[in-house]
């Protein structure tokens, strides 16, 4: 639509304001508050109130199975947590998954982005190959890769055997199960990294590389002295979002191993879910969730600080 056609259209239709908008003809300030109200109400209802509730419940012994009313127990849930080996194991697994899959997804995503940035004649297959893994539900990715890593009929073992190795029974040993989970997470999340990095790559002016060519700088040097530094902002944003979602890892291990063998591949999110939904122990579940909240708030604080300094 061109400007003039819009103006004509509004000329014709808007001689007088429609009745339903006239009563809302307020000054700017009140109108702004009115427009922000629905979002505020939703956020208050679904985030602010639950967060307060979470902190509150974590000081209570509230188990829905016992049928007893909530009883104030102070820091007992937290004390219990620090003596709980499963809490430490699941937290350690979560941290380990974050430390492995975030850099892993960055490296793979960078490689994918550099390849996708090559001058292909048709762009859509490249775009699709990055979008499909992003759009696939995490839980589906977990199931698909559980099938890939199937010890008898999985394609991974098939390829290993064809290459002359022995097949691996992936989900019987904690180590291999953990590796399979990390590989799946890296596959699933690297495409998103690649999309963000690709967008960054496309903003780097060609003239910089041309100038570097004239100066006789090699390709590798151009990569480390032009590409990487200029990509830094987009990489940082992608890393922070990825870190926060990695701390919440649930779907993929839940679908692939259910946390097993034992609790060796269980994450903090899975332990929260188990305590809340299976054991209905809301007090303890809340205390666990407070820990996760604290972990991700640290990351968010770093993020906000960086955005501020950028502006």
């Amino acid at each position: 639509m061109t400007t003039t056609s819009i103006l004509k259209a509004t000329d014709a239709q808007e001689q007088r304001p429609a009745a339903w908008t006239r009563w809302l003809d307020l000054g700017d300030r009140p109108l702004a508050l009115l427009l922000l109200a629905p979002a505020t109400v939703l956020l208050a209802l679904i985030i602010v109130y639950p967060v307060c509730r979470l902190a509150y419940t974590s000081f209570f012994n509230l188990s829905l199975t016992s049928g007893m009313p909530a009883e104030f127990v102070g820091l007992d849930n937290y004390r219990l947590m620090f003596d709980d080996p499963v809490f430490w194991e699941t937290t350690w697994n979560t941290v380990l998954i974050t430390l492995i899959t975030v850099p892993g997804a960055l490296v793979v995503g960078l490689a994918l982005a550099l390849m996708a940035n090559l001058p292909f004649r048709t762009q859509w297959p490249v775009r699709l190959s990055l979008l499909i893994p992003w759009a696939l539900p995490l839980s589906f990715a977990g199931l698909i890769f559980a099938w890939f890593f199937h010890s008898e009929y999985g394609i991974v073992n098939d390829v290993l055997i064809r290459l002359g190795f022995e097949g691996i029974i992936w989900f019987n040993s904690p180590g291999w199960a953990f590796a399979a989970i990390c590989l799946t997470i890296i596959w699933k999340t690297s495409s998103f990294m690649a999309l963000i990095i690709l967008a960054g790559l496309q903003t780097i002016p060609r003239s910089l590389y041309e100038a570097a060519d004239v100066d006789g700088a090699g390709r590798l040097r151009q990569f480390f002295e032009i590409t990487l530094p200029l990509l830094k902002p987009s990489i940082v944003v992608a890393l922070i979002f990825r870190t926060i979602t990695a701390l919440q890892t649930f779907d993929i291990p839940y679908m692939m191993t259910g946390g097993g063998p034992g609790t060796s591949t269980s994450t903090l999110a899975m332990y929260i879910h188990q305590n809340t939904v299976s054991f209905l122990d809301l007090g303890y579940g809340s205390a666990l969730a407070v820990v996760m909240f604290a972990l991700s708030m640290c990351v968010t604080t770093v993020y906000l600080r960086m955005i501020r300094t950028k502006e």
Partner: protein, 284 residues
């Protein structure tokens, strides 16, 4: 080939062989898992347990798809996913259009602070809300309803959609609204008759992202709606596993059914989705 311009650090090396290798690597990485599930869904149980395993299905059959729909109420799972995703997307769009307009156009005292708060909320760990939301939904008797998922999913996409729309609205010349208002339109009228139609691509992109977010969500759907008739697709798919049996061909067929709707959206609107995703950081 001369029409395409090379850029980037690998461009010097970008002879045909390198491009060929890169294209193969990208396509295999991106599409092979989905393709493999498609192949699996077309195989018979007998072919699946044959050794060595076959890659392409020898005698493709649609039997698994029929079984996927008859073993479990797959159409109900689909319906639940659609309703929840669609309603939460519409609610997200309505709320974020209003908020984004206030942030983009109206004179707000704490605009910077509000924007920071929205960014902080966009990184909020949904998992931590599991416990209190479970408690609240249980108290309000909302477990096993669509609403139990629609409200949290709306909030899940709200920050990102609002930020996206703010930047879209800011790109629309104020003159157009002013002209409409001189013609007697109220501000709110101008928003819905001028600003929203003009930023339709942005609104649409935000909508797709919200839809995909809701379609993919698993943890809350798993925790809040345990009744088989209210399960969404990702949660419902678990019901195919027996205690010992794991009917992979049937599960694969159900997965394909779940992938197709989103894949169609992505194929049609790929360029918009990419621009939307990269405009602001979004959960991945």
């Amino acid at each position: 080939m001369s029409a395409v311009t090379a850029s980037g650090p690998l461009s010097m090396l970008s002879g045909k062989p390198l491009r060929g290798f890169a294209a193969a690597a990208l396509l295999i990485n991106g599409l092979f898992p989905a393709l493999w599930i498609l192949f699996t869904s077309l195989k018979t149980e007998g072919e699946l347990t044959a050794k060595p395993i076959t890659w392409l299905p020898h005698a493709p059959t649609l039997q698994n798809y029929m079984q996927a729909f008859s073993d479990q109420p797959l159409h109900i799972f689909l319906l639940n996913s659609f309703v929840v995703a669609l309603l939460s997307t519409m609610l997200t769009l309505l709320v974020s259009v209003l908020a984004a307009y206030a942030l983009a156009r109206l004179d707000l005292r704490y605009r910077g602070l509000i924007l920071s708060a929205i960014i902080a909320v966009s990184t909020f760990p949904l998992v931590t809300l599991l416990v209190p939301l479970f408690e609240i939904m249980r108290a309000l008797n909302l477990l096993n309803t669509w609403i139990a998922l629609i409200l949290p999913y709306t909030v899940l996409s709200l920050p990102v959609c609002t930020l996206m729309l703010v930047s879209f609205f800011e790109g629309i010349p104020r003159d157009l609204e002013n002209a409409a208002m001189i013609d007697g339109c109220t501000r709110l009228g101008a928003l819905f008759k001028v600003v929203v139609p003009l930023s339709a691509p942005g609104v649409f992109t935000a909508g797709i992202l919200a839809f995909v977010n809701a379609w993919d969500e698993f943890l809350l759907a798993l925790s809040f709606n345990s009744n088989p008739l209210l399960r969404t697709l990702p949660v419902g798919i678990q019901l195919y596993q027996g205690e010992f049996a794991f009917p992979w061909p049937v599960i694969s067929a159900a997965l394909v059914v779940g992938i197709v709707p989103v894949a169609i959206l992505i194929v049609i609107f790929q360029e918009r989705v990419v621009s939307g995703l990269t405009a602001g950081g979004i959960k991945g």
